[in-house]
């Protein structure tokens, strides 16, 4: 009856489950809970030819592109949400630096539908979104067709099934049953569309904590290949109830990555010469960490599952 533990270090989880060439879903919860720690480990382990999938990822996609890990990105928006463009993205698209990048442009809705189709097990889902746009003309996974039940044009959004979804969560048990709250984005469909799920959790809790609220268990453990306990692993993105968004970090990234050589310095400092997340937090410094901490708790009203 007791399920085996799936706890791994980040290093081992990435080593075992995300080979070069993988299609990887990151940033499923949009601006919240972006798995930066996992992305940095992908860079340290020199993954190549990744296909990145996600609606947006704030600056994580940019970093992976700058580090040369990526050959294709399927996304709705790539950049720095609070500061503007992503310079590594621009360098890769405009000048193939450090390598050529194929961009498959989605809208947020069509990306969500592609993952939803994967989760539902159908080859496509229909929508009116992107009709009339140039996204439709350039993205081969969006195809116009005639509705079989009405006299209408529709777009068929082809299903996506990433090889791995890496999802940062608030808490999980050792088997991967995970609670997520706040911003959900495309996390639920992403976990189900993917062939493997890596859960990165702020806290590992007893199974009874997760089981006390099965409506909040948005990722069931049987879909999960590995569980990584990595507190703070989403920094500089926020985790509701755990830490806020480090707005300054995004602004600094923007300034410190405009020139290629500056990006290389940034990457060396924050990723390549940083051995793990503990080391990263040390660099960040306690003052900064304290500023992001929760100032006022706001606990959900209990729901009674009794009978």
């Amino acid at each position: 009856m007791t399920a085996e533990s799936k706890l791994l270090t980040m290093r081992d989880a990435i080593a075992r489950h995300v080979p070069s060439g993988s299609m990887v879903l990151l940033g499923a919860q949009l601006e919240q809970m972006i798995p930066f720690a996992a992305g940095h480990e992908l860079i340290r382990q020199s993954r190549r030819d990744l296909t990145l999938v996600g609606p947006i990822s704030d600056i994580l996609f940019d970093q992976l592109m700058g580090a040369g890990c990526v050959s294709r990105v399927m996304a709705a928006w790539v950049g720095n949400v609070s500061a503007g463009v992503g310079y590594c993205f621009r360098r890769a698209v405009e000048r193939s630096i450090p390598r050529r990048l194929e961009v498959v442009d989605y809208s947020n809705f069509t990306m969500a539908l592609a993952l939803h189709a994967g989760a539902l097990g159908v080859p496509f889902l229909p929508t009116y979104a992107t009709l009339g746009s140039d996204l439709l003309k350039k993205n081969g996974n969006l195809r116009e067709f005639s509705s079989p039940v009405s006299e209408e044009k529709l777009i068929a959004v082809r299903a996506l099934r990433p090889d791995v979804a890496i999802l940062h969560v608030q808490r999980s048990d050792a088997h991967g049953n995970a609670h997520i709250w706040g911003s959900l984005g495309v996390a639920v469909d992403g976990a189900r569309a993917a062939r493997k799920v890596i859960v990165v959790a702020e806290e590992i809790v007893e199974p009874s904590v997760i089981a006390s609220d099965p409506n909040r268990t948005l990722i069931p453990g049987f879909l999960v290949a590995a569980v990584v306990h990595e507190p703070g692993g989403a920094h500089p993105s926020p985790v509701q109830g755990y830490y806020g968004r480090d707005h300054a970090f995004f602004a600094e990234y923007h300034e410190q990555t405009r020139r290629l050589e500056d990006f290389e310095d940034w990457l060396a400092r924050w990723v390549v010469q940083t051995t793990d997340r503990g080391d990263y937090w040390k660099q960040l410094g306690t003052g900064r960490v304290e500023k992001l901490a929760v100032k006022e708790h706001a606990f959900s009203a209990p729901a009674d599952f009794g009978y």
Binding site: A76, F89, N108, T130, S183
Partner: protein, 261 residues
Amino acid sequence: MTRAESNLAARGYSFAELMVAAAAREIAHGELVFVGMRLPMLAFLVARRTHAPGAVGLFENGVLRETPSAELLYTMGDPPNLRGATQCGAMLDVMGLLQQGRVDVGFLGAAEVDRFGNLNTTWGYRNKEMQRLPGSGGACDIACLARRTVVLLAHERARLCDRVGHITSPGFGTGEGWRRTQGLPAASGPSAIITTLGVLRFGHDGEAYLASVHPGVSVEEVLANTGWTLRVADELMETSPPSDEELRVMRELDPNHFWTR
């Protein structure tokens, strides 16, 4: 002193504050609004606090919100935007409402907008070089599916152009009937372009015309800063300045003029 600052000093409000007030007036009581960040977010909050207390804000991360967040937001995923939200769901929950035709108005920014209200946020053409921009996000979805779309941008000749280089988010395409031909919903399409100089609206033929100029702005200035021969309304209005109440609310929400400098 920048032009905006001198304007603010002379009139008691900035161009950005004028744009926010104009945008707020595009929202009616009880409407569902696809908000976005920066000026539109402020416009939504001003509308709720003044003439449209029943308006509901939608965000692409799955959040629906009726009350202002307790802190200034940099992104829709900031923790203050989730705490006390009306609902935190999935992206598809919000997009479903949009596709059902329940979203009355959506606000968008753009690198370029053209005479038919088409938007480009994918490719820029600064200094004759192609520059890759971040892309659609939810903009294409909103432009396709919201009942009305309102665009906010700075009024520059290069940005208000005859035809956008890339249609990220469709407006009226090539004019009258185009949206129907493409299969887009009957009740949808651009409603206004609010710029730093005036407000443009759309004729039955789908082409934009100048509907109002901001106080102190001349028609000539608008035409000189528009990349096509912009039609002017027979009864051209002056954009109403922000009311005291609108300014009061705006400054309460954004005391340091982070968004409205």
